[in-house]
């Protein structure tokens, strides 16, 4: 739990620095998978799939959790993501991106379908959701201010910020997940940072 909070502070610091400076540094992009690895996945090699699951399931779970806000659903949908990946690996085209970006793209769609099917498109979660029972310090004021600011900007821009800073994807990976171009991601990101700076109403310093 402590590690997770520290991780949160890390992304928060990075984001606040970017808002303050207006400069968004790209996260280092991971290397794409080795050809032999992809080939073994496409062959249905169980050990390769176990390796992929062990390496990526936690990040996928965290991403899905953030989209659904429910641990049980996140667990269920995470498994669905890998089952979908199994079905779709034959159509995977290696473009030098890590498999995580491809899995995030699947996760985004599966989680979206899940929400539409089971939660309704306009499921509402109160800001009270931030008040975590028994851990009033889990979300500190700075984060709360940032959340309010993020919540007030364009959803597409907010999602870009989420993928880039909260989930740590690089520009090109984020572009792959969103189905857009790197320039498109850069544009949304810059506008989002500017809007956040205006919303926060101050020169944010870390």
């Amino acid at each position: 739990m402590v590690a997770a909070i520290e991780l949160g502070a890390t992304w928060l610091e990075r984001l606040l620095l970017a808002i303050s400076s207006g400069v968004a540094e790209d996260a280092p992009s991971q290397r794409g998978p080795a050809f032999a690895y992809v080939e073994s996945l496409q062959r249905g090699d169980h050990e390769s799939w176990r390796l992929l699951f062990d390496e990526e399931s936690a990040a996928i779970y965290r991403y899905v959790f953030s989209r659904l806000g429910n641990a049980e659903d996140a667990e269920d949908v995470t498994n669905q993501v890998f089952e979908e990946a199994w079905r779709s690996i034959g159509r995977y085209r290696d473009e030098g991106l890590p498999l995580r970006a491809w899995l995030f793209g699947i996760a985004r769609n599966v989680a979206g379908s899940h929400r539409r099917r089971f939660m309704g498109r306009n499921a509402q979660v109160s800001i009270d959701a931030l008040q975590i029972e028994g851990r009033p310090d889990a979300v500190h004021t700075e984060m709360l201010d940032l959340v309010r600011a993020l919540a007030s900007i364009d959803p597409a821009q907010a999602e870009t910020i989420s993928l880039r800073y909260i989930h740590g994807l690089s520009l090109i990976e984020t572009a792959a997940v969103l189905g857009t171009t790197v320039d498109g991601v850069k544009g949304r990101q810059q506008r989002a940072l500017a809007a956040l700076k205006r919303r926060l109403g101050r020169d944010t310093t870390v």
């Binding site: 739990m1 997770a4 991780l7 949160g8 249905g44 169980h46 699951f53 399931s57 936690a58 779970y61 965290r62 959790f65 953030s66 989209r67 659904l68 806000g69 641990a71 667990e75 498994n79 089952e83 990946a85 199994w86 079905r87 034959g90 159509r91 970006a101 793209g105 985004r108 769609n109 989680a111 379908s113 929400r115 499921a123 509402q124 979660v125 109160s126 800001i127 959701a129 931030l130 975590i132 851990r135 979300v139 309010r148 993020l150 919540a151 959803p155 597409a156 821009q157 907010a158 909260i166 792959a176 969103l178 189905g179 857009t180 171009t181 320039d183 498109g184 850069k186 544009g187 949304r188």
Partner: protein, 194 residues
């Protein structure tokens, strides 16, 4: 669905509140990891059968037939006049110690009850109660038919075209227009605000 518009992010406070609220708890704990891994293993095992399609099913059917043949042979070997024999008329009669010159030969007698006969129609592989094609189809193998409403395999695989965010000068794409239903992608006309 416009890929410029996040598929499920409600404007807007709720979505981000949920996003950040999840953070302290977001990494799966050991129990969650274990459950997910177990379910994944089950899926792998199931997919393996599905992956081999008819070949795998044929193998399973052949194996079942061999097993049934072996059990029938064992049953006939141990058959004694004290056994109950089901005659062709369906009447069960007790054969008690008397030689039966017209006793059905093992080959003509059903080896097992009809309800347990193997499928011969290439149907499901796990429900043999009626001996018919009553198994649920598994369309999850590669090249199989459609098995779900959504194709979630590709990023942004919604029902519209991709963004055109590659306008000249990488001038971003202007403010995203997320208001229109089923919009046709980003405006992509340059003229960013930076």
């Amino acid at each position: 669905m416009n890929v410029n518009q996040p598929d499920d992010m409600t404007p807007n406070l709720a979505a981000l509140a949920r996003e950040v609220a999840a953070l302290p708890f977001a990494w799966p704990d050991a129990a969650t990891r274990s459950r997910m891994r177990s379910r994944f293993e089950d899926a792998l095992a199931a997919k393996t059968v599905a992956k081999h399609g008819w070949l795998g099913r044929g193998f399973l059917i052949a194996a079942a037939l061999l097993a049934l043949g072996a059990s029938a042979a064992a049953a006939s070997a141990s058959r004694s006049p004290m056994d109950l024999v089901r005659d062709p008329g369906g009447v069960v009669r007790d054969i008690i110690g008397k030689p039966q010159p017209q006793q059905p030969t093992p080959s003509s007698a059903p080896a097992v009850a009809p309800s347990a006969t193997p499928d011969d129609d290439h149907g499901g592989d796990d429900d043999d109660r009626r001996g018919r094609d009553d198994g649920p189809d598994d369309n999850s193998g590669p090249g199989s038919g459609d098995d779900g409403p959504d194709d979630n395999s590709g990023p942004g695989s919604g029902d519209d075209g991709p963004d055109d965010n590659s306008g000249p000068g990488s001038g971003d794409d202007g403010p995203d227009d997320n208001s229109g239903p089923g919009g046709s992608g980003g405006s992509g006309s340059g003229g960013g605000d930076d």
